[in-house]
């Protein structure tokens, strides 16, 4: 399947993520789409932009939308619980939440083949990547790992 990624995205992504090598440690997995963000995609939504903001979706009153704790709480409300490592565990689905100097910066999930699935930015494409390290240039460090038994609908 050929995924149409606009040139502007192909040019800007390597500037922020110099470790990215298409075909080696990451692949584009979807076209650009403005209707969901990285936290949405980590929770397997592609029709909701999860943020407490106009045009977005954040029904969890009192839960901050800009902290690692807030995002972890939303993950817990979806059946995830905090765990130690990012290593692949068959039968479990994991989410990694990143943070930088400004606060929470990114979230991604691990699929059944151990690949991590990330939505880049609010309007960017999805990518599949082999590890979490290649995101550190742009998103800082992993602040929390959570997991849940892999649901039947997300094998």
């Amino acid at each position: 399947v050929v995924i149409d990624i606009p040139d502007e995205w192909r040019q800007r992504i390597p500037k922020l993520f110099p470790q990215f090598v298409e075909g080696a440690n990451f692949e584009f997995a979807s076209p650009v789409d403005p209707n969901y963000n990285c936290l949405s995609w980590a929770l397997s939504y592609n029709d909701k932009y999860l943020e407490d903001y106009k045009g977005a979706y954040w029904p969890w009153k009192g839960v901050p939308d800009d902290t690692v704790d807030g995002w972890a709480t939303v993950c817990e409300l979806h059946g995830f619980f905090v765990c130690d490592g990012e290593h692949f565990e068959p039968g479990f689905e994991k989410i990694a939440i990143f943070e930088d100097a400004e606060g929470v910066s990114h979230a991604c999930r691990q699929d059944k083949n151990s690949l991590w699935k990330s939505k880049l930015g609010g309007w960017g494409p999805d990518i599949d990547h082999a590890d979490l390290k290649i995101l550190e240039d742009g998103y800082g460090t992993v602040g929390r790992i959570l997991k849940r038994p892999r649901p039947d609908w997300n094998l």
């Binding site: 606009p6 502007e8 800007r12 500037k15 922020l16 403005p34 209707n35 963000n37 990285c38 936290l39 029709d47 932009y49 943020e51 903001y53 106009k54 045009g55 977005a56 939308d65 800009d66 400004e102 606060g103 929470v104 910066s105 990114h106 939505k119 880049l120 930015g121 609010g122 309007w123 960017g124 742009g138 998103y139």
Partner: protein
């Protein structure tokens, strides 16, 4: 306009001394030619016809520079709130109504979170309640077309 226009005219006519007078019923521009040290009155209307085009180019360039800076520095953020407080975005809002056609054109050609800026400048909100990002973008494009913004096409 005074400073920008003075600089433009001084550069355009290669002179160092320049007066622009603007009153309710008369406008005149006088310059002192460096070489001959004589005063000359320039046809204001001829100058005026030249100025808007030049200023329009300046505004478009300024806008596209700010858009480029904003996108380069914030594209990876998933938080809209974090993106719209970036200094380049705030400068675009600060450009005021002249930025509206440029924002609408940008929204159509390379959609992004321009709703906050449009809302801040126009103090309007054409998007229906509960609309998602794509629907809000379309609502603003429709808003621009209804008002005849040529650049929104």
């Amino acid at each position: 306009m005074a400073m920008e226009m003075m600089e433009y005219v001084a550069d355009r006519f290669s002179c160092t001394s320049l007066w622009i007078e603007e009153t309710d019923d008369a406008r005149s521009v006088e310059r002192e030619l460096d070489e001959w040290k004589v005063k000359e009155t320039i046809d204001w209307y001829e100058l005026k016809a030249e100025l808007p085009k030049s200023k329009e180019i300046d505004i478009a360039t300024q806008f596209s520079d700010l858009v480029r800076e904003w996108k380069e520095e914030t594209w990876s953020f998933s938080s809209v709130k974090r993106r719209v407080i970036h200094s380049a975005y705030l400068k675009i809002i600060g450009m005021g109504p002249v930025a509206i056609p440029l924002l609408l054109k940008e929204l159509r050609s390379q959609p992004d979170h321009w709703f906050h800026a449009l809302e801040a400048i126009t103090r309007q909100d054409p998007a229906p309640a509960g609309a998602n990002m794509k629907e809000i973008a379309q609502a603003w494009i429709d808003w621009g077309e209804k008002r005849g913004y040529r650049h929104s096409r």
